[in-house]
């Protein structure tokens, strides 16, 4: 092998490794959160929520969003439709009529333990903080892969702005750093939302279910869904009746692509070496053959 060939191979190997890493930025990032000591999140008790929409108001105030009208006459009409979070509303309340009467369900980012959005982000704008918060940074390139990868349909794009951003609940990360409860938790008049470490709120959810087996169904939504989330729900009716997806499985979304993405850099680096080896192994015999043929002609 001459020098030129050697450099070529090394170069392609390095490039391959680099490209491979580019393709798998989120995989390592998404796990960063779980290695921290505690993840923080919210336990939502849907049996306690009264649908007053004060969390929407508090959220809007803190995040500088358009202030919603939460008067009763407005609520009646608004809650007739099942709404989704938007770029101007990070948290919303939906009303569901079920076998056990009316149930209000607050909906916001679930802050997955291994978020699909973080794994999908090409530029590390979406980040899983060690404290569990899934946040968004300004270096976003607007590819909207996070929107596609989210199983809960949470990240929203500001389509109507000249400099659009991705908007979603960040579990009041700034307030957390300043030692204040998330706005929605602070203003909830019934303590339907409980803020705490994931371990704490999971324990509390399990305690409530065990203490009231008639009241709750034995399932904490988010305990295992998509590999676990920091936002947990407990309910008195099966979760599919109050607008939750039951088909998500318990595998974290980034893990679906992990095997594939791990294989990419491996192939980039090893494949040329294997090929080169094969090349070297077969080259000599072919040269010999050519030589014999030439001899024969003479």
């Amino acid at each position: 092998m001459d020098r030129r060939n050697f450099l070529k191979i090394i170069g392609s190997g390095v490039a391959g490794a680099a490209t491979g890493n580019l393709l798998t930025p989120g995989r390592t990032l998404a796990k960063e959160g779980t290695s921290a000591k505690e993840l923080y999140g919210i336990l939502v008790d849907t049996t306690r929520c009264i649908g007053c929409r004060r969390c929407e108001l508090g959220c809007a105030e803190v995040n500088g969003l358009p202030i919603p009208d939460i008067s009763e006459s407005k609520n009646e009409n608004l809650l007739k439709t099942i709404r989704k979070t938007s770029d101007a509303q990070y948290t919303i309340i939906n009303r569901y009529e079920t076998e056990k009467g009316t149930i209000f369900v607050p909906k916001r980012c679930m802050h997955c333990n291994q978020p699909g959005c973080v794994a999908a982000c090409l530029v590390k704008a979406m980040r899983k903080r060690p404290s569990g918060h899934v946040t968004w940074d300004l270096n976003c390139i607007g590819c909207r892969l996070c929107m596609i990868s989210c199983p809960f349909d949470i990240p929203k794009f500001e389509y109507n702005k000249a400099m659009p951003r991705i908007q979603k609940c960040n579990l009041c990360y700034d307030r957390y750093n300043n030692g204040v409860l998330p706005a929605c938790v602070e203003v909830c008049p019934t303590q339907a939302l409980m803020f705490g470490s994931r371990r704490q709120i999971l324990d509390e959810g399990k305690r409530r279910i065990a203490a009231n087996p008639d009241k709750y169904i034995e399932h904490i939504y988010g305990e295992y869904e998509v590999g676990g989330t920091s936002h947990l729900y407990i309910s008195s009716v099966p979760f599919e009746q109050i607008g939750f997806r039951k088909d998500l499985g318990t595998v974290a979304y980034p893990e679906y692509s992990t095997g594939f993405l791990y294989a990419v850099p491996f192939i980039f680096v090893l494949w040329p070496i294997v090929m080169l080896g094969m090349n070297r192994a077969t080259k000599k015999s072919k040269e010999d053959e050519g030589h014999h043929e030439e001899k024969g002609k003479h």
């Binding site: 009763e72 009467g101 307030r175 300043n178 090929m275």
Partner: protein, 573 residues
């Protein structure tokens, strides 16, 4: 050449990788939504699918019009189609199946139906189809025909008893009731009737439920004979009905002895209140048995069996396996017959359908009671430090005596201490004070309690009703300091940094008030119903000039300066 080969192999590798990636993305499991097949009114029709034999059907199921066939064979009788054994018609179909297996059963169906249709058509009578598609209709493929279960309640039972007495001049329960002697070797003699041992059909003929060893032996025999509750009751009821139908028709009683499907399977069920006045069957049961378990630590209980009879739809709602007394199977330490459940748990298990405590807990979930009892945790034998009155309410130790307490009354209340109206000013900044009609609520609760016999018995005195709202009250300490039992004595205004789950005053009020209104179905002030106008306004009047912002710390710089902030207590450094 070599370079070409390398390129070729690399591109193959890429292809494999890409196809593997696509494969792993598109093979993620997803659940399909299955549409429920439409249901039709039964109207004496039967869906013949027999999927337990045939599995997946080759042709669509047959919707068989049983009513029409019944009408046509009125003269010939049911045994034209159904097999007969020892003078009793067995309501099976087809009559004979020669061999086991799918094809044999299918042939038996086809032979019996089509042969009869052919025969009548050769006799130039009006008859049914003989071609495949006329019975196996594609459009009826997904239809569900389901009959509601018939409930042989005490009203129907009483009617049968009376008619029977009219007919033969004495009680003969043996016409329907029998018991199976499992120890009898000669099977023909095993079915016996003995007066005073009558029980429900469900005990032996219902196979779905888990039973004790003794009953399991009997249900196994019944299962072997194919006598599940469906075939057993059809055989028993219909044979008798067929026998007496003619006679009643002649008398002009057209409704007597029904044989059509929809006459019994109406889907209408009588409530406990409707059945209250019906005389329950007499089986020599005591009206007020004294339950005193030998060697038990607790005093005996005088149990008002008679009033409990009137409050249940069936005997088996308590006597779940036999009509014996509880302590025949449930001993102090538990016996295998009683599934290892000891007598204390048999009476006190909170979530059982058959125990005293379990049934009473169900009762407490009713609208009137749930307002308070929703918040009070259920008590069982393992509850720590129960009040003395809680136990002695039943465990009086007095034989044949049930001391009914006097109805409650608010007459003796100290009007200075028990306020007529309480003003709650927790949300003072945003709203005007809420006015809480304290005395009116007490009056209402007293009325609810006095209306129910069970509540009157167990509430005992007025203090009990106070505990509905003033739960876990530190009554002694409050009495010493002479402070009224306010919510704020325990519930703090702000979040407790040490325990974020602790209910703060704001949510204590909302959860207690709205929870009670929700559970009692009081529209005003409940959480679920939207009335015209302001839902919050029922309790809170909007204050003029109040703040528009509801979050306390909006400016983050303020929060930074606030060094005693609540999360500092537990937040990781």
């Amino acid at each position: 050449m070599n370079r070409k080969l390398i390129f070729f192999l690399v591109s193959i590798a890429y292809l494999i990788l890409i196809s593997y990636g696509l494969y792993s993305v598109y093979t993620v499991e997803a659940t399909l939504r299955v549409k429920e097949p439409p249901k039709i009114k039964p109207e004496n029709k039967i869906a013949i699918a027999r999927t337990e034999i045939f599995g997946k059907l080759e042709r669509p199921q047959v919707i068989f019009n049983h009513g029409k066939h019944e009408e046509a064979f009125k003269k010939e009788g049911c045994n034209t189609c159904h097999p007969e054994k020892d003078g009793q018609i067995l309501f099976d179909f087809p009559k004979t199946v020669k061999k086991k297996g799918k094809t044999a059963v299918m042939n038996a169906y086809h032979d019996q139906c089509i042969d009869c249709h052919k025969k009548s058509s050769s006799e130039n009578k009006k008859t049914g189809p003989v071609n495949c598609g006329d019975c196996h209709k594609e459009k009826e493929k997904a239809i569900q025909v389901k009959y509601p279960v018939f409930e042989f309640d005490f009203y129907v039972h009483d009617k049968h008893v009376k008619k029977l007495k009219e007919k033969i001049g004495k009680d003969d329960c043996g016409l329907c009731h029998h018991s199976y002697d499992i120890n009898e070797e000669d099977e023909t003699l095993a079915l016996v009737y003995e007066k005073g041992t009558e029980e429900s059909c469900y005990y032996c003929h219902e196979f779905g439920k888990k039973r004790g060893p003794e009953l399991t032996a009997i249900t196994t025999v019944a299962a072997k004979k194919g006598l599940d509750i469906r075939s057993a009751s059809h055989q028993q009821c219909l044979n008798c009905h067929l026998k007496y139908k003619e006679e009643y028709l002649k008398k002009g009683e057209k409704e007597a002895c029904p044989t059509e499907c929809s006459k019994c399977h109406t889907g209408k069920y009588r409530t406990v209140a409707e059945l209250e006045k019906i005389v329950r069957p007499d089986r020599d049961q005591k009206d007020k048995p004294f339950i005193d378990i030998e060697n038990s630590k607790m005093k005996g209980v005088t149990f008002d069996h008679k009033s409990h009879e009137a409050n249940s739809k069936t005997c088996r709602s308590c006597h779940h396996e036999t009509l014996n007394a509880c302590d025949t199977c449930h001993s102090l330490t538990g016996k295998p017959e009683g599934n290892g459940i000891n007598v204390a748990n048999a009476y006190h298990h909170v979530f059982s359908e058959h125990s005293c405590a379990g049934c009473h807990n169900k009762k407490k979930e009713e609208k009137k009671c749930a307002g308070c009892h929703h918040f009070i945790p259920a008590m069982d034998v393992e509850t720590m430090n129960p009040k003395k009155e809680t136990c002695t309410a039943c465990h009086s130790g007095k034989k044949d005596q049930i001391a009914m307490p006097k109805p409650l009354s608010t007459a003796g209340l100290n009007k200075d201490k028990v306020k007529k109206e309480v003003e709650i000013k927790v949300l003072e900044k945003e709203f005007e004070p809420s006015k809480f009609p304290h005395l009116d609520i007490i009056d209402k609760l007293v009325k609810v309690s006095n209306d129910s016999k069970m509540a009157t018995y167990f509430h005992g005195n007025l203090q009990t009703l106070c505990e509905g709202c003033h739960h876990r009250s530190i009554a002694q300490a409050e009495a010493q300091k002479d402070t009224p039992p306010n919510c704020k004595n325990c519930h703090m205004t702000a979040y407790d940094g040490q325990n974020l789950n602790r209910t703060r005053l704001l949510s204590a009020y909302h959860r207690q008030c709205m929870g009670c209104h929700d559970k009692m179905g009081i529209e005003k002030g409940s959480s679920v119903r939207f009335k015209e106008g302001d839902r919050c306004g029922t309790c809170h009047k909007k204050k003029v000039g109040g703040p528009t912002e509801i979050t306390h710390i909006k400016n983050q710089n303020v929060a930074k300066q606030n060094k005693n902030n609540i999360l500092n207590v537990w937040r990781p450094k």
